[in-house]
Homo-oligomer: 529 residues x 2
């Protein structure tokens, strides 16, 4: 397949805009030849009209056929072979091995949602049968299930060209649930977006999905995203990226005549707390593990551990020495975009210049011609950390701050200054952890995921994963973007009162033809009624 | 017990404000002697500090003890006997029979949540066990469950002094989940609020709950509500009332440094569609049923059917005649507050003066000395309805507009002008309904609950109830305020990665000591691991 550079409006391609942009190649600090056309206002309108028209038809398609569509996407993506991976590599500078793994994860996400909707119990069917003879008033028959909500606008993320982009963690559940999807492609990887969109369109066509079930639009500015979020047909928004970007979309969505839900995952400093006995017992392995996590993917993960807390204790010197040595060993790393690189060095330098911050490892900013970074780490006292809000914020990239507290009281005070996080981690064995209930509570309350004796990087795609967290890590702590429950962002319950069995959706019919788990008169069962 | 008129700040009573207000008695258009003290800014601050301190302790109390607390509330409320009902009657003008029923429903809600948390499966536990030998990377052990989020601010509603007020549909699930609750009492019934608060405080004390698990503050203005919603310790808001009130709180919550979820249920016109064959077959019973529903509780229900759609058909004349006769028969009804009565007549008169609106039954506004209304109904053509947005809005009180459409096409066009609703209803047998798939889709998409051959008034408290709906009926179509799923508004998922079994909450331990349903490696089971 070849890159068209055109917007994918349902089954049509469209390039009305004379203005174009090109892909940036971070490893070579150059651009690729293909041109991409930002969507015009008319193209946005056409896209939304098509999505709205597709909604009723798509929502009514049996789940098994929607599952076929999702699996067809995986087949079309795999059929593109190395072409897809190579383009992703060119546009992101991420290593081929990592991209292969990420594609695998994306295929896995689509497959899990296909399986979820094939099985069917995810709709949380609840049936309360009628009691016509109840006094003083008869009880009606009530049945409830989750239903799709309408066209969903999704923003591709820069740091995961597959798993959080065109066919990623927002698209898979939104399509699985029965909603049309409109993708705003991330300008950092338009070519891989183009190819992935072609895979989705081809999959939709060959599995008989309605025209408009999927569209993808380009923009290297903010106009298309704004128009999509403000469009009255849009019913929810999915976003992964910066705090500034996420909040801009969130505010925009709340200011509409009809406010709509925005799930924005906006990053996190992912504090790691190391308790002293554990620091003493595992000094070297902790230092090495943390060094690996801080520098993984050039630190460009929302789960990057940006703050490491510990207590002043005998093992600390040795830990710092090994930690600095290991971080210093990491060779230079390509960053995703020029903007991310520049911002990294700006924020890192700002952090290093704050009062009381002592540099442990300082990487050099390479020449302009190379979009590279090296890891830096620094150290600050709990006291200085507590009084300086600038140190509580994320530095996106390979940087981490070691916060050394005098005692457990100061550590608790420091943790109280940390806002909501995707993850928190505690390095402690069961006995030492049990001795610090306040630390456990403080870390629990701030976290979407609380890890014991592990680093936050690495987000498993499974039912028990919660990839979300209290504000400001996301805009709504009640939802996740990873795992089966990610579908809950894009559905709503609908109750059916006193419906004739013949008109009810299969999920709610007496005979339970799909054999799903249902809560019938408050008992979970797969039985018919 | 006697009414204190003081704010209930945890286990203390406080009346710092020199300003006071009194209860209005709608049936007599007079006031009761007791004075109530709006909370001061200092009292609000003290309340929130106490709630925040109570949170960690309360969240850690075993569910069985929280269930005891909820059941103790029911006992204390029942122990107040007729005193509570009589005060409610004085302050609302609602008939004693209705209030007795409503108290029963409130007790039922508390009991259902006590049972829900005693059983325990509501936490949606998910366990994915580790695969240490998986390649290329080992899979960690991940477990997830719903946890409370912190202090919840709840606004009592004017039209249900028990079921949607101090111990009502928001308080019961918020407390059940493990969150402290701060009630802003509705100034329309401060006395019954005072008594109910005493019941809750007494129940909390005798079941050993932490001081601050529940507080209740007065205000007959907006200051206290504003301060509560803006307070940084507040983590979510529950509200039932007007569109204007709900949206003011929603905007306020979004403009905080940390935006928080607001579930505002803001009313609805609850459109009812009658298809022609069914109109012909059941002319008289439909007219009588609708007349009863429009006038129930003086029309002061969020589920009042404010719009009735039908097609011009042979049975229409007869239907109109009986409908008008039945509505005309209803004797005058007391309205809850002066403000509600005045607003009702203002909006009704405005609707009746719109182009093409023909009055079918017109009630008179009684003298100032009586806070009474009588039901009014009117008729308009589909054509006039479609072009006039003023007719699409709610008139809170006993008013309903009959919209007569020329044909099914015009009916569909009219329904497209209706925004989101708590309920929609279709009067049609299975065969006739099946012949109108577009009508079914239009009504489904706009509804939280879709009723066949029944009126929207009457909200059953059960698992399959969805009392919510697309905007503007609520601020978030994904949540309900009635039924077991109402608890989902006030919790969030938390993942535990690689935790030692001894430190995990009981819900997630290998042995499953609570015997709850869990999703273990994608299979629902009550078994241990």
């Amino acid at each position: 397949m070849s890159i068209t550079g055109k917007n994918y409006i349902g089954y049509s391609q469209s390039a009305e805009n004379a203005k174009t942009f090109q892909s940036y190649v971070p490893v070579k600090h150059t651009h690729l030849p293909e041109t991409f056309h930002p969507a015009t206002a008319e193209e946005v309108e056409k896209t939304m009209q098509l999505a709205e028209r597709a909604f009723d038809e798509y929502a009514a398609i049996p789940a098994s056929q929607r599952a076929d569509f999702l699996m067809a996407i995986t087949e079309e993506m795999m059929a593109m072979g190395d072409e897809l991976l190579e383009r992703a590599h060119q546009e992101t500078g991420l290593p081929m091995g990592r991209l292969q793994g990420e594609r695998g994860r994306t295929i896995n996400q689509l497959t899990q949602f296909a399986n979820l909707i094939r099985e069917g119990s995810w709709v949380e069917a609840r049936v309360d049968t009628a009691q016509p003879d109840r006094t003083p008033a008869p009880k009606p028959d009530l049945r409830k299930m989750l239903v799709p909500i309408g066209p969903i606008v999704i923003f591709g993320s820069s740091n995961f060209p597959f798993a959080y982009s065109i066919a990623g963690v927002d698209t898979a559940p939104a399509l699985a649930a029965g909603n049309p999807v409109i993708l705003k492609a991330h300008p950092a990887h338009p070519g891989v977006s183009d190819l992935t969109a072609q895979a989705i369109v081809k999959a939709a066509q060959r599995t008989g999905m309605p025209n408009g079930v999927f569209s993808m639009l380009y923009d290297d500015g903010y106009e298309v995203g704004t128009a999509l979020v403000q469009h009255p047909y849009t019913k929810a928004v999915g976003f992964t990226g910066s705090f500034k970007g996420g909040m801009a979309l969130y505010k925009m969505a709340q200011e509409r005549d009809e406010p709509i839900p925005v799930f924005a995952e906006m990053g996190s400093v992912n504090p790691v707390v190391i308790l002293p006995d554990t620091l003493a017992a595992h000094t070297e392995s902790l230092a090495k593990t943390l060094a690996g996590s801080v520098t993984l993917g050039a630190g460009q993960f929302c789960t990057n551990p940006g703050l490491v807390f510990t207590l002043d204790s005998p093992a600390l010197d040795e830990f710092e020495k090994i930690y600095a040595r290991e971080v210093g060993k990491i060779t230079s790393m390509t960053m995703l975009t020029e903007g991310i690189r520049k911002n990294f060095f700006k924020l890192r330098d700002k952090a290093l210049a704050e009062a009381g911050v002592e540099t442990l490892v300082l990487s050099d900013e390479k020449a302009e011609g190379e979009n590279q970074s090296q890891a830096s780490i620094a150290r600050v006292s709990g006291k200085d950390f507590i009084k300086n809000p600038n140190l509580h914020e994320e530095v996106f990239g390979p940087f981490s701050l070691l916060v050394v507290c005098e005692d457990s009281i100061e550590l608790q005070a420091a943790l109280k200054h940390i806002p909501g996080q995707l993850t928190t981690s505690l390095m402690a064995d069961a006995a030492e952890a049990a001795g610090h209930p306040q630390i456990l509570r403080l870390l629990s309350r701030r976290a979407g995921r609380f890890i014991m004796n592990g680093v936050p990087t690495g987000v498993e795609v499974c039912a028990a994963m919660h990839h979300g967290g209290p504000f400001p890590s996301t805009t709504d702590s009640r939802f996740t973007s990873v795992g089966r429950d990610a579908i809950l962002r894009f559905v709503r319950p609908l109750s059916f009162q006193d419906w004739p069995d013949s008109l009810l959706p299969d999920e709610l019919k007496d005979s339970n033809p799909l054999g799903i788990w249902r809560l019938v008169n408050n008992e979970l069962t797969q039985d018919a009624i």
